[in-house]
Each structure stands twice: as C-alpha cells, then as structure tokens.
C-alpha cells in the first residue's frame, strides 16, 4: 500500500491525540493558576476586614473619686486605678433603661477589656483629663466586631448565635446614633499578642522576625560568600572538597525541622543558650539558609567572565587581589539576589522555630536578641489554633502582611537580577 495513504489514514487519530495532550497541559496550567487564586482569594477574603476594627463612642467621666481620691496625682495611684469602673459607669449611663446584673454584664462585655489600659494611658499622658467628661472611641469586643463585619448571621435562632437579640438591639441603637463604627485597626500593627482578638497585634512578632533575620543575615551572608569564594577560586580538587560540596548540596535539601532539632540539641541544651530567643532562632535559620547562599554566590561568581580575572592577573595582581578587587564587585548583585531569596525563605520558615521554643505566648515586643520572642509565621501558627472568629480573621491579615514582606523581598531580588543581566 502507498505509504502516503497509510499515513493519511492515521492522521486524524494522531491529531486528536495531539489536541488531547495539549489540552492536558493547558488543564494543568489552569489548575495551578486556580490553586494560586483560591489560596490568595481565601486568605484575602478572610483577612482584609481585620485591618478595620469596630469602635464604640462613650462619654467617659474621668471621675477623680475613682482615679485619684487623694488628689496628689501620684503616678503609682494613677497607674493602678480602676479604669474599668469608668467604662462601666459610662455604659450604664448610655443605656439607662437596662437593669439587672445579667443584662448589665452583657452591656459591659460589649467593650474590649483593653479599654481600661487605653484610658489609663490617656490619663497618664494628660492628668488634666481627670474631672472632665470626654467622648472617647473605645475598641469593641470581638463578638461585636464580628457582628459589625457581618460574620454573625442575624437570621439564626437566638440560642445558636454568639450574641443574643438584646445585644444586637444595643448595637443597632448605637449604630443609629452613629456611636459605633469601623475604623482603621491601629492596634493590629501597634500591639503584641493577646488572648483577646481585638487587642492582639503583630508588632511583637514583627520585631521578633526582624531580630531573628538580622542574626540569620550576619551568620549566613559573610560565611556563605566566603565559602563560595573559596570553593570557586581556591579549593584544590580533592576528596575533602568533594565532601564539602556533597554536604552543601545535601544540606540544601534537609527538612527544615531537622535544623530545629539541631538548634534544640546543640545551641540550647549543649551551649545553654536561652530558649525562645531571636539569637538561637537566627543561628538555626542561618545554618539553614547557608547552603542556598553558597550555591547562589557560586553561580554568581561563575557568571563573571574569566577574562576579567585574567586581566587582573595579567597586570600582576595576586589571585586574592583579582578575586576581591575585580570578581567579587561584579558578582555582588547576584550574591545579594541569592541572599535576599534565602532571607525570604527564612522569614517564612516556621518549623525550626517551634523546636527552639519560639512558640511561647509573648505579649511584649522583644527588646533584644536574647529576650523571649516569637516570629511572624509562628504568630500565624499560634493564632490559627484559636477558635475565635476574630483570630481567624487576624491570622489571615497577618498572612497578608507576611506575604507583602515576601513579595517586596522577591521583587527586590528580581530587580537586582534584571540590573545584572543588563550589564552583560
């Protein structure tokens, strides 16, 4: 039979197979994109409302009898006064029709317990407030916040809701009087962790991450670059160097949690370094990031044209001088790119930090490298465990902040890389 005819007879089937194969590929890409969208979509929709917080306006009478009975304006007295009582009085006055212990308790629960500290700080800053009445916007409790953000379904039967009809009635009446509204949530960026969602913020975790990353950078960047320089330029070809290279490649693929075990056993148990601190976290993440930086730096050194080194050697520079005066400056942007990417990875890393105890509940932002701290991804982990709807929302918001940092770092890395490619 004529081969052309034979080929033609199979063509339709083959073209269908071709189209099918192509379709599978397209489906795979579309699925990948869909997962990305789903991931970001679910986090954004869960989290964007956490950047606002519900506040309630109350006419607070800074009662001298409560704050400073003696009138001496003694700091200690002002500091330890019962400011919550001011809040209670103000709420009762706002809803004079409410009587009975249970109902009044419900009323005061609408205001965040952190309001007492807010008032205290105002008084300490400006003692002349005492004796006056001020209209103060105080953070609402997280349940009220959830109601205002529409997470509580008013159509549910009353006993299946977190808020009963009475409280919803209070909120609605305040809403009509413009005494309750959602404002930008400064607490989220200015406070440390808290058991109450409306008082919880990421400042402590951000500080912890920042301190940890500084230690990571100080450890891994100089050592990583030094190791890359040695391996690329000075290392003899022998089994010892092979061993080093095998080690570096393998360490790059060791699960991060193993580095956490290393930190726990060596740094904490053996060296006796303090648990839960940025310095230990930074060392562990530094060791983890080191292979990434070494590999990136080596690639960057390799990409410098050999002619540049040869030119330097040709005018009588030593190998060391050729390296440090001519090759390294050209390779620096590439090395920085690798370092930034490594740092971004370290910033998002959680598991090793769990091992060395950076999961503690820590309210105050850390002041130094050896103070107990937590880190942003660990904070996300901690909050994700909390059952309150308010924390789910804040977890997503914290993730958005973390992703914003990561995107910024990666953008910087891409920018640096583009700049380098243009030069050659």
């Amino acid at each position: 039979m004529n081969p052309t005819k034979q080929i033609v007879s199979g063509l339709a089937r083959r073209q269908r197979a071709e189209k099918r194969f192509r379709l599978y590929g397209l489906i795979a890409v579309v699925l990948g994109m869909a997962f990305l969208l789903l991931l970001f979509g679910s986090i954004v929709t869960n989290g964007y409302k956490a950047f606002t917080q519900t506040y309630i306006e109350l006419p607070i009478y800074f009662d001298p009898a409560v704050i400073d009975p003696s009138g001496e304006r003694n700091h200690q007295t002002l500091f330890s006064a019962d400011y919550w009582k001011l809040v209670k009085t103000a709420v009762y006055q706002k809803f004079p029709q409410v009587n009975g212990r249970k109902e009044r308790r419900e009323l005061t629960r609408m205001i965040s317990e952190g309001s007492a500290y807010e008032l205290r700080d105002q008084v300490l800053e400006n003692p002349r407030l005492i004796g006056t009445t001020q209209h103060v916007w105080l953070a609402a409790d997280d349940d009220i916040d959830m109601l205002m953000k529409g997470y509580i379904d008013r159509n549910l039967p009353e006993d299946e809701r977190r808020l009963n009809d009475r409280i919803i009635g209070y909120v609605d009446s305040m809403r009509e009087a413009d005494a309750i509204e959602r404002r930008f949530n400064t607490t989220f960026f200015a406070a440390g962790d808290s058991r109450e969602p409306e008082q919880a913020g990421i400042l402590g975790a951000l500080m912890g991450s920042f301190l940890t990353l500084i230690v990571t950078l100080l450890l891994s960047f100089p050592i990583g670059v030094a190791a890359a320089v040695y391996l690329e330029e000075f290392a003899p070809r022998n089994h010892f160097i092979d061993l080093i290279e095998i080690n570096i490649n393998n360490l790059a693929a060791v699960p991060s949690i193993i580095f956490g075990l290393l930190g726990l056993a060596i740094f904490i148990n053996w060296f006796g370094m303090p648990r839960s601190t940025p310095v230990v976290g930074g060392l562990v993440l530094g060791l983890m990031t080191l292979p990434t930086i070494i590999i990136a730096s080596r690639v960057s050194i390799q990409s410098v044209p050999p002619s540049i080194k040869e030119a330097a050697l040709g005018v009588g520079a030593s190998r060391m001088q050729a390296m440090f005066h001519h090759v390294l400056p050209i390779a620096t942007p590439g090395m920085l790119t690798g370092t930034i990417i490594g740092m971004a990875r370290a910033l998002g890393e959680t598991a090793p930090l769990l091992m060395i105890g950076m999961v503690a509940f820590i309210v105050d932002p850390p002041g130094g490298f050896t103070e107990p701290a937590t880190a942003l991804p660990v904070q996300i982990f901690l909050w994700s465990d909390s059952p309150e709807r308010g924390f789910t929302e804040r977890t997503s918001a914290a993730i958005l902040v973390l992703l914003a940092f990561l995107i910024a770092m990666n953008a910087a890395a891409v920018y640096l890389r583009e700049k380098v490619t243009k030069r050659f």
Binding site: A17, E18, R20, F21, R22, G25, A28, V29, L31, G32, M33, F35, L38, L39, S42, I43, N46, P222, I223, A226, A227, Y230, L231, F234, A235, I244, N247, I248, N250, L251, A253, V254, P255, S256, I257, I258, L261, L262, L264, A265, I266, G272, L287, L290, P291, S318, M320, R345, L347, G348, T350, A351, L354, M355, V359, P377, F381, I399, L403, L406
Partner: protein
Amino acid sequence: MSPLVLIFLLLALSSAAYFFSQRRMLRQTRNANVARLNSLPEHFGTLGAIWAGAPALLVYFVWLIFEGDILMAQVLAMLPDPESMAATRELLIGDIRNAINNPMSYQMASEEVRMAADRYHELSQTATLALTATCLSVFAICSALVLKFLTPRVRARVRVEKIIRGFLLLCSTLAIFTTVGIVLSVLFEASRFFQAVSVTEFLFGLEWSPQMAIREDQVGSSGAFGAVPLFAGTLLISFIAMLVAAPIGLMSAIYLSEYAPAKVRTAVKPMLEILAGVPTVVYGFFAAITVGPALRGFGQSVGLDVASESALAAGFVMGVMIIPFVSSISDDVITAVPQAMRDGSLGMGATNSETMRRVILPAALPGIIGGLLLAISRAIGETMIVVMAAGLSANLTANPLEAVTTVTVQIVTLLVGDQEFDSPKTLAAFALGLALFFITLVLNFIALYVVRKYREQYE
C-alpha cells in the same frame, strides 16, 4: 567591664595595631633606604593587626564558650545538697539558669536556687575581670612580638593571603560541621531513647501512644513507641501530594515549554513560582481553614464520612505546594534535552506530543525521576501543613478520608511545650528526627546523583 565592651576594646586595639604597623613599615623603609616594600603597606598593617589581635580574640571566645559550664560546675560544687533540690542535675541547672537570666524566676525560686544564682553572679563578675586582664596581657605580649618580628623583609602579602585562605576554608567547612552537628545531636539523643525502647519495637511496632509515658505514677506507664503508623501516615500523605503534584507539575512544564506562546510563558511561570515562595504555614492555614472543611462538606453531601483533619486535605495542599517544584525541575530537565532531538523527531513527521512522549520524556526520564525523588523528600520532611491540617493520633490506615499523623507532626507535638529531657516521650522526637534525616538523606543522595549523571550526559 562587660564582655561586650571588652570585645570592642580589642577590636579598637587591633585597628590601632593596623595603622601603627603600616606607618612603622613605611618609616623603616625610608630609613633603611629600601627601594620599595615587597608588599603594600596595607598588607603589613593587616598582618600586624592579626598577629597582635587574633590570639587575644581567640582567648576571648574560647573563654566565653566554656565560662558558663565552668562557673556552673563551681556553683553546684558549692551547694550543700544538690541532689535534694531537684530530680536531676539537668533540671537543677535549668532552674538556676532561669533564676540568673530572669528576675521573675528569681523571685519565685527556692532559697537554695537563689543563693546559687547570687553566687553565680559573683563568680561571673570575677571571671569577667580575669578575662579582661588575660585578654589585655595576651594582646600586649603579641604586640611586643609584632614589634620584634614584623620587619620590611617579611613577605606580608603572602602571609595575609594565607591567613585569609585559611579563614575562607574554615567558612566552607561549616557545612560539614552542620551535618556532623545534626547527625551527632539526633544520634546522641536517639541512642538515649533506644536505651528505653528497643529499636525493633520502634521500627516495627504498630502502636504509637507516647502520651501515656508522662503519667509515670500509672501502671503500664511506659507508653507505646511503635513508629509504623507514623511512617504509614507520612507515606500516605506524601503519596497523595505526589498524585497531585507530579501530573500537574510535569504537564504544566511540558505545556509551558512546548506549547504556550512566549507571552503566556513569561506571565505564567513567575506566577507558578509565587506558589513556591508562599510559606508553608500559609498552606497549613489554607488546608485547615478552607480545604479541610470544604472536603468535609463535600463528603457529607455525597454521603461520605470525611474526617475534618483528613489525610486527603493535608496531602492535597502539600501537593499544591510541590507543584512549582516539580514543574521547575521538569522544565530544567526537558529544556536540557538538545534541540537536535526535537528537530530529528519533528523532521520525521512526528507530532509535538509524539515527540514529547516518545523522544523527549524517555530521554529526560532519569532527570525527572531524580526531581520527583527530591519532591518526595520534601513532602516527607514538610512540617507545618501536616501540623496544622493532619491529625495527632496515630492511625494505621490507607483510607485518605481518615485522619492520620506523620513523623514531623509527632516531632512537633512531642517537643513543643514543657520538656523533660530524660523522658522517652521527648527523646522519641529525636529518634523520629533520626529516621526522618536518614530517609531524606538517602532520597536526596540518590536524586542528586541521578540528576548530576543526567546533566553530564548532555554537557
């Protein structure tokens, strides 16, 4: 003087030595009418600074590393009856350390511990003084030696470069030290675990319930440490992850490299890479909050009982995480196959898919397998997704709709929270860590070897 001030003082003295040596060499050269120095003045300066400062700095760091242990030993020796104060020596040391570092703990500590802490403070002040004196005198002696031996005839550049080379070598050996550190730390603690629990029970036991071990007063408090359910759970979740990641990653790499127009490729590739840059804790949250409940809801609507922490949810999300990894490795491997192979096949009249399936993929197979092995190793070692979305209780099942637990989940559960370093419960985490390290090491080793051999084939 605090140790921190001392180190700055030493560094300042070393820089002084730098400038001094440099100028001295220039002066001597002028006086001796030497035509020129054999090295740059900076080299002499650096050499002078290193000779003068390095020994003192070395003393400083060695001292600081051992100071804590030595002082603690002295404090313990001074205590009248250390055994009565805490269950073990480690716990006692921990108590004293807390009292030293944390004023709150100090106030809450017992009389003896406070005394020990006070004593520690005294000793440490004396030690700091002694350290200062030692370091400064070492510096002085070395400076004198610099005066005597650093002459214009010393080949300063060669010596400085040798020292720098030594330093560079030291930095590159850190990778070895890290590996050794990992191996030693898990091996040491795991060996303590295996004193209490036999290796065979750990490797082949079918029951895992370490929680019982902490109730030591109970009968049968030894707990069960059979790790098979954990290995099985890890494999199940990794398997589901690979079922998601391998086809999607591979097919999207093929589509992007062979079919997609250049514009689509440049837009889609970085977006897939975003998936790789998302921290695992975010995936964990996604699995726990979105995927888990969705699967459960879907299961209910079709009459299936899906656990809220099902292996399917964790495995699925882990698969999504690994997609870009598989895709980028496959892309590398596929583009490494020479264009001549494509031309040869297309020139015969093969379609793109025939070329891909019959020529490119078989040629790229070793590389792809290596990449998949690396991906599996990632899935096995992945922690946060399973901690947040998989179960806690060991469950020996192959049903992806049930909750299973994994090696990494158990390591985290056993080590987060209060630890006692002599209970098998805590030590078990290190035994699991050892197993995890060993498995991933073997996988990585094979994978890297296969990939390297593959690359060499086309270079």
